[in-house]
Symmetry: C2
Subunit: 425 residues, 2 copies
């Protein structure tokens, strides 16, 4: 399959781009010779690398709008945890597929997930053609529990065996320690050793709230970052979500160990967790990317929105309008996402890279006039995404999905939300 | 003209709504008898009052993305002010109409503007059917200038004479003192007296940045709010934009004098101005509504976005997820906006109120599932708006404008931005 993109705007210039199978093979201002299976018009379109959502819990689309404006403890213990008790393989499969459709429509080509019933998330991912790093959340409250006796660990182990590098390599299986406050040191240490042994990535929540951070210090005499460092977690390539309350010395550990941070500005604001110190992390050279978190705390899976809010939020809270250039925000959502997921030759539009590409419609109001393509981020929203391609395969184009029966999926999603959680519509 | 809305969801319930000419005459669960000129399906639609944008500068759509990531002084003095020198009647007319189209598409039924060439803004508004409170920005740096000798004041005076209550009452003319740092006490006092005499509203910028606030104290021994209070500005119904750095005692003055505050969270973040203390203002009982500010500092005219960002921002910076309920945010953007503009029987969907109404499509991903209609604000975006009606007139429906030739307008907008400011597209 050989596809020609006919002069979309890319980094401010109109260029031809050629895709052969899953690889970008030409970028230039001269029209390349030869025949093409398909020519995609770039007229009034802007091309960007596909976006990465490096921290989410896709089945939580079930809980979009389910519990709002509540104190965190009440929200979790009275609403979210009881709702999660009702999860089934079927509801996880449908809601994951629904979440993936939403992400594809919003220009996301790859996501990193941590949840349960993760084999169903993997199956939904493979069917849709999206890329995903998927992990089964590991929790342990029993000091006598050995890793080899834990059903969650066995699920994670089987997930790795059955799905790692499946879907033509689009699916990777990560190990996922949920968090410090839901685990014990010995269990974490054993998991860290196993993760290193199998060569997997690690995905973990760190210092999302100030109480989580402070209670860890009370319990262990160290911060969550120090706790995980000591347990050897960072010996595998790690993505740490949230990191709102990490200290400067935590950041030094992260930088030294190459830990990637998934910044979730919307979730952190909405749950009242606070504002992560993004400018400091970037200055220290930490690889920071974006996550949406789950739909119970966002309530969308929209990386362009995370990018936009991060772009303006840190200017505002630091009273400094030039604190982070927009080009850095774009790099975070693309190149840094690929590094977080350890996907080589991904996250950039360059020759030899995987064809993970989105097109944005520059003919909508919010895109007129156009002075600078990077600066367009300040007015773009996800409704401007008009094409999403992963590994050279068009997954979404002008409102249509190529791999998903979307009307059936909407019906199934409404049906299961109404039946299980009394959704109105 | 008699229109029946056939059971959209309104405040969580499916209801029939009847519009006769410009007024809401029926709301109920029983189908009303009689014939209708038009029946609008409410299937999978949510109905809300139309939104108010109570602080903007519509011609600044010309500068969307024109100057980004710069320190405030450089942004203003090296980019925005020189660009404004090139404004013409034609460019203001086209860009205003373009801005109005964008707002209508985003569910805005009324806006409050402060700029120059304001007669052109009024003309564009009348043609489109939107409601608007329009003012000519008044600035004075010359201590010897008398109000009656000021060309800007004469433009404001003529604007009032020619356009106040025009467009079937949809257009109101406000007086607009730009700000303390661009004015002198005597000029402000004279303007305040004139404003009271003609019975107009007042629109003013107050304490947008900390330096503006502190420099006013250095110059005058009082805060901007105290300065304007002493000059008698608040003797007319006033809308004060930004108010990021007002003190508690400033807030007391505002509450006492019934000053409305236009909260511009996006602009305040993007320009690095800071975060207004919204929860404190609401607790004091100040009438707070929303504004987008101009497109040079936002970069869109999207009140649903302001609402969403305000809804999550104040939770985040106050570390309190239940600090402002979403119902309060909706009231701010509707009812409080009507009060700010002094429009009676506007801003609510109630019998006897003006038919200023929007419909939102609940069939898009971000709206599935639906548990609570108010909470849907956390996932709505402006692309969900599928109908905008002002005074009973449908201005926008399913992508089509009824009063605007949108393709011509896009062409004209691109043309003038390219010719005057070297826009790329």
């Amino acid at each position: 399959m050989k596809i020609l993109f006919d002069r979309p705007i890319i980094s401010g210039e109109k260029k031809y781009i050629v895709i052969e199978n899953d690889i970008i093979t030409y970028i230039g201002t001269d029209r390349p010779e030869g025949d093409f299976d398909r020519i995609i018009s770039g007229d009034r379109k802007m091309m960007m690398p596909g976006l990465y959502n490096c921290h989410t819990h896709v089945p939580m689309t079930l809980f979009r709008g389910y519990a709002e404006d509540l104190p965190l403890h009440e929200w979790l213990h009275e609403k979210i945890f009881p709702a999660e008790e009702l999860l089934t393989e079927k509801s996880v499969y449908i809601s994951s597929k629904f979440a993936i459709a939403e992400m594809i429509k919003n220009g996301v080509v790859s996501f990193t997930d941590m949840y349960s019933f993760s084999d169903k998330i993997a199956e939904a991912s493979i069917e849709t053609g999206i890329k995903a790093n998927i992990g089964r959340a590991l929790l342990c409250f029993d000091p006598n529990l050995k890793l080899k006796d834990d059903f969650r660990f066995h699920e994670a182990e089987n997930l790795f065996k059955n799905y790692h590098n499946s879907g033509n390599g689009r699916i990777k299986i990560d190990m996922s320690i949920h968090a410090e406050y839901t685990n014990l040191f010995g269990y974490v240490k054993e998991t860290a050793e196993y993760t290193k042994e199998i060569g997997a990535n690690m995905h973990v929540h760190i210092s999302e709230t100030i109480s989580e951070h402070n209670e860890c210090i009370e319990r262990n005499g160290m911060t969550p970052t120090e706790f995980f460092y000591k347990a050897g977690l960072f010996e595998s390539p790690t993505t740490a979500a949230h990191c709102v309350h990490v200290t400067d010395s935590d950041m030094e550990i992260m930088r030294e160990k190459g830990v990637s941070v998934a910044h979730n500005p919307v979730s952190n604001l909405k749950l009242g967790s606070g504002v992560m110190r993004l400018p400091v992390m970037l200055e220290k050279g930490i690889n920071v990317t974006f996550g949406t978190d789950g739909c119970a705390s966002n309530n969308t899976l929209d990386i362009l929105k995370e990018m936009y809010i991060a772009a303006i939020l840190h200017k505002g809270v630091n009273l400094k309008p030039d604190i982070i250039p927009v080009s850095e925000i774009i790099k975070m959502a693309t190149e840094n996402g690929a590094l977080s997921q350890r996907r080589e030759l991904c996250g950039k539009i360059e020759i030899g890279y995987k064809a993970d590409i989105i097109l944005l419609d520059m003919n909508d109001f919010n895109m007129i006039p156009l002075y600078d393509t990077d600066a367009a981020l300040y007015s773009i929203n996800s409704s401007n995404v008009c094409m999403t391609m992963a590994d050279g395969e068009v997954l979404y184009e002008n409102g249509e999905f190529t791999t998903i029966d979307i009307e059936k999926l909407k019906f199934d999603m409404r049906d299961i939300c109404a039946a299980t959680y009394n959704a109105k519509s």
